[in-house]
Amino acid sequence: MAGATAIAGTPPLLRAEVKQDGRLLVPWALLTTLLSASSMIYPLVFPSDQDKAAFAAAVGANPAMAIIFGPAYDLSTADGFNAWRALSLGGLLAALGVIFAVTRATRAQEDSGQAELLASGVMGRASRLAAAVWMCLVFSIVLGLVTGLVTVAFGGGWNASMLIAATMSATAWMFTGVAAVTAQLGSDARTANSLAVGTLGVLFIARGVAYALEAPDWAIWINPLAWMTETKPAVDDNWWPLLLAAALTLVLLAVAFVLQARREFGAGAIAPRPGPARGSARSTWRLALRINRGPLLTWTIAFIGLGFVFGYLATSVNDILGGDAALQQALASGAADSAGLVSAFLVTILSLVGILASIPGVQTMLKVRTEELEDRVEPLIATATARARYFASNVVIALAAPAVYVLIAGLLIAALTASADIGVEFGDAFLQAVATVPAVWTVIAIAVAVIGARPQVVLASWIGVLASFGLTILGPTFNLWDWVLAISPFWHVPGVTDPDADWWGLVWISLVTVLFLAIGFAGFRRRDLART
């Protein structure tokens, strides 16, 4: 009875929710569908068994790739390829989609006061959360169905394709639960999102490492994301791990609703305390640091963690390569050489670090836009603060922090690889990290240009990250032409140990960076503020 009144008014709320936020979910389903269905071109790209074997050796066995894609059980068929390429990444995308949706529909609306308006109507205390959860649970299933059916339509095997898609749905279910919990813990939308995305990130990397290092079973069974990998589509087709996911979802949702019933409206479990009556942030520069303080700290810790994980992975690169039969074959036949593989591994892993580091850079720029839309820039510009100075304070953080992240992770990776006697010098590995930084800056400079000059298309800020990821990490799985791959700034990062490394590429991409920065600054100086 009490339960029924707590969620009174959910259906109309759900309808309003779907109308308002539903379209923001669509891109995530498109991405997973594209990811999975595009795997079906595998036989066209790699027609012969020999091609497939070479591919498996060069890309499938690169442990840096394994961190993202998980283990490659069988790269001899399109379905097996799809399971390797789409399962973990698709789950990641679906989970991100629902995390943002749950937070948007609960926390963000509470922050904006929109929820209060509704809460005063005929509505149970829990209905907002209930509506958000329903929307995301149903969306997860739709995402799976669309992804699976489209993949089958493009030639995927029924069982394997549907299972791969189902793991995406299941991952989205679990993270609907996680986000429902973090929405109760954080005291605002940003904290709630960070907690949920952070959980996803840690579990994702942990899974990658666990499989790359052939970690003990317990490391796999304590990680819900690894349950998804254990379905082994196209090899074993285990459906039962999905039941574990459903059970975990129920537990998380139960926890979320209990927490929700206990907290006050607008508050989180982590309550804000009174602060100093006097301020020390007295310049736009200090303000920018202050606003980004939380993320700066979190990301620094994240990259120290990444540095250790990737560094450790690098130390065992020879064991991993040695354990790969297909690779041994390729090595024996001369199709690959061991030193080259180690170097390629290092370049890839640092590109990956670079791409990940550009994400907080783009976020810093997006924050500039949020501040503007929430009317917090206007009072600042109305003081004796030049627009360029305000913008510059934020751009400096957006560029400098990711560079530091790459260097931190690079330092750890270099130190660990140098200690492991795999033929990589500390100096070379660290120099490789340094050489990656200009590419990171190019990616972030795109966001600077967008936010400065055309903030209406704020999503375009992510173009750099998406293109880099798509071309540098996914590109090789499509066997794309060099001129296409060269669109990614990371393609221009030379391998420092390569005797005929071409350093000019870094000069060119830096010119592009300068151009984008100039566009951003010119735009921000000239445009109306906070006008949409």
Partner: protein, 303 residues
Amino acid sequence: MSAGEAVIDVRGLTKSYGKFKALQGLDLHVERGQVHGFLGPNGAGKSTTIRVLLGLLKGDGGSAQVLGHDPWKHVVDLHRRLAYVPGDVSLWPGMTGGEAIDLLGSLRGGLDERRRADLIERFELDPSKRGRQYSKGNRQKVAIVAALSSNVELLILDEPTSGLDPLMENVFQEVIGEAKANGATVLLSSHILSEVESLADRLSIIREGAVVQTGTLADLQQGSRSTIHATLSAPVPQSALEGLSDIHVDGDRLRATVDSAEVGAAMTRLAPLGITALTVEPPSLESLFLRLYETDSTDRAAS
């Protein structure tokens, strides 16, 4: 215009948002030392005008001068000499009110510590609360304290009292009075006439993106009507109703309107009847508007 130095001088200003014309040839003159009321209904274009004056928006046509300079080109120098309270104050969620005041003050080039302490006390503001914990009125207070803590020549206030309780509104009026006594010029926008009438030396009324009338309060109220609500101890005789119109009598209760200049005469006629309760509502912005519409149409009929 009189010979005073123009602190704000706007001529024929236009500004569009896409196809929508928010300002259509707006003129505004504010002289040094004046408190100038900028009155208009919601959506009339007050905030848009103010944002152009602050160089936050770029006007499409016409000219705008603040303290003798173009606000779009000389932003930084100008902003050192003025302070602004926005209509919708939004604070940094994790930053305390005190920190926000210090930040804004420092960016303007420093604030007067004594004034800061004094204002915080008078507005009964708790500066150690975080931005997200303040109510609308308290956020407004933070912005007001931040603006008034610096010694500036020009204060631009966009509906600064929305959300303040009546007690705090009194404090606000006092504080603006002091600023004026110290020689500051004030542009004070509002959609409620009574908010500005006690402070403003001159008023400009804006409607649909253009100033339709400007002058002193007395100028504007000429020919406008106040509303009287009275409860009398005797039945109301016909003779007492002279000069009143829109009369509603209900037993001993009377409601009517009277030409604002005739309020005193009407009182003299009602007083002998024994007034037990009385309110006189000054002309509302709406009634001023009604009159402006009327003069508009009579002017047109005359020409």
